[in-house]
């Protein structure tokens, strides 16, 4: 699983770097829609991240959890 994961990461990074064409600001109307704004869900994501931190072994480590809920 480790090899395939790293390969996928490299593939994603290569895809990003390959797409470095500039899209002018006036062409980004669609990207400013709430459904395309990654930061518009920050408030929702914060609590959900806390839930996943306390229930999954592969998330957390950032200190957002406490001891009482068995989060540690």
């Amino acid at each position: 699983m480790r090899i395939s994961s790293i390969s996928l990461a490299c593939l994603a990074l290569a895809g990003l770097l390959a797409g470095c064409a500039t899209v002018a600001p006036y062409q980004r109307g669609y990207l400013s829609r709430p459904s395309m704004d990654f930061s518009s869900e920050d408030g929702e994501t914060s609590f959900r991240a806390h839930v996943h931190d306390s229930r999954e072994g592969a998330t957390g480590g950032h200190g957002s959890t406490g001891g009482g809920c068995g989060c540690n």
């Binding site: 470095c20 899209v23 990207l31 990654f38 999954e56 406490g66 001891g67 009482g68």
Partner: protein, 385 residues
């Protein structure tokens, strides 16, 4: 400790109140301060645990573009859980108070823009004090088509232990005998790197990497393991290095006014635990004010190298765990989200809300771990000013 929690709550309230007051004053003199106030409610339910976590947050942007943020959150956890691995199911309610403060500013470098951000957080509950500070930077290139981000976080937690489920017991001088005091400290450093790229007028992608190193008290003081007939406290390695890679691609379809997001995260750490998390989100705009979102998330993890069925530990084992998060399991999450822009309130008695938004979210989580199925429900009202 209780006094400290109240002081934290009072400080947060005063900060938000003073921040709001200063905005009114600045608005009257310069007219250029902007900001938003957010009220949010969060609820989590599973068989043995209920969490209610309301929060209030404020964001202010000064005339020179400096952003200030503050948030206060109360996290009320009801019922400890045998599912979490404790030796007996004990009902209790515990309150956690959390205050977050942050500030950031963007600097124009000509062809590029650099944003620097500093934030800190303090979380307090009777048996746990968590503190953290994050320094972040983001470089915008190619007319903001490319965003390169980096962040560094340091955390320091004091882990305590209290006896629960019994009548409060104090000595003649008032000392709380249920408080076992501090049992250890946990520290950590996180390095985050990210890259976001606008690919076409309808397509954007991002990718990132997080490196987390934790050291110190990494087990839970309430969990214990039966080892050849004797109950022994949980004992984890005292260091853990964690790696996660993630990516996201988002496509907007103007013909149907919908958007599709594909997310993927993979994780591996030195405890032998690895995980994958693919996720898909579908957004549908309805009119100009409503956006619906459907979401599916799959999570699958392997077990840590020291995780075993509870009856298979022997005296020679170096590490012991009763933590369900260390075992192999997977989960499915199904989510529904609705967002409503409040523009229709213009020219009504509630006109002060017309630039804001209201959203509701409901997630159902099916887990094969000992925690069982769970529900996450959230809602928020954001009002700009």
């Amino acid at each position: 400790m209780q006094l400290s929690a109240r002081a934290t709550a009072l400080f947060a309230t005063l900060f938000v109140a003073s921040a709001t007051a200063s905005t009114v004053q600045a608005d009257g003199t310069t007219g250029t301060w902007t900001g938003a106030l957010t009220l949010q409610g969060n609820y989590y339910w599973e068989t043995s645990t209920r969490v209610m976590a309301p929060s209030i947050g404020a964001r202010l942007v000064s005339p020179d573009g400096t952003e200030f943020r503050a948030e206060y959150l109360v996290d009320a956890i009801t019922s400890a859980s045998i599912a979490a691995g404790v030796s007996a199911d004990i009902r209790f309610t515990e309150v956690r108070n959390q205050v977050s403060l942050g500030a950031g500013r963007e600097f124009d470098l000509g062809e590029a823009q650099l944003r620097l951000d500093l934030s800190s957080r303090v979380s307090h509950e009777p048996d746990y004090l968590a503190t953290g500070v994050t320094l972040g930077g983001q470089l915008a290139l190619a007319q903001r088509c490319t965003l390169i981000g980096a962040s560094l976080t340091y955390i320091h937690d004091d882990v305590g232990s209290v006896i629960r489920g019994e009548q409060a017991s104090t000595t003649v001088d008032g000392r709380d005998l249920s408080d076992r005091g501090r049992v250890g400290q946990l520290e950590g450093v996180t390095l985050g790197l990210s890259l976001s790229q606008v690919l076409t007028p309808q397509l954007v992608a991002s990718a990132g990497y997080d490196l987390v190193h934790n050291w110190g008290y990494l087990q839970n003081p309430y969990r214990s393991v039966m080892v050849q007939g004797l109950l022994r406290p949980e004992d984890h390695p005292d260091q853990r290095t964690r790696n996660s890679f993630y990516g996201r691609v988002a496509l907007y379809v103007p013909e149907t006014r919908s958007a599709v997001h594909a997310l993927y995260r993979m994780y591996v750490d030195e405890w032998g635990l690895a995980a994958i998390t693919p996720e898909a989100r579908f957004y549908q705009e309805i009119g100009d004010l409503v956006t619906l979102r459907l979401r599916y998330r799959y999570y699958d993890q392997t077990r840590s190298f020291f995780s075993r069925p509870v009856d298979q530990y022997v005296n020679d084992d170096a590490f012991l765990t009763a933590d369900p998060k260390m075992s192999r399991f997977h989960s499915h999450l199904f989510g529904l989200h609705a967002r409503l822009q409040l523009g229709f309130l213009q020219a009504t008695p509630l006109e002060f809300l017309h630039g804001g938004e209201f959203w509701l979210s409901f997630d159902y989580l099916m887990q094969t771990s000992r925690f069982g199925d769970a529900v996450i429900a959230q809602g928020a009202l954001r009002v700009p000013f």
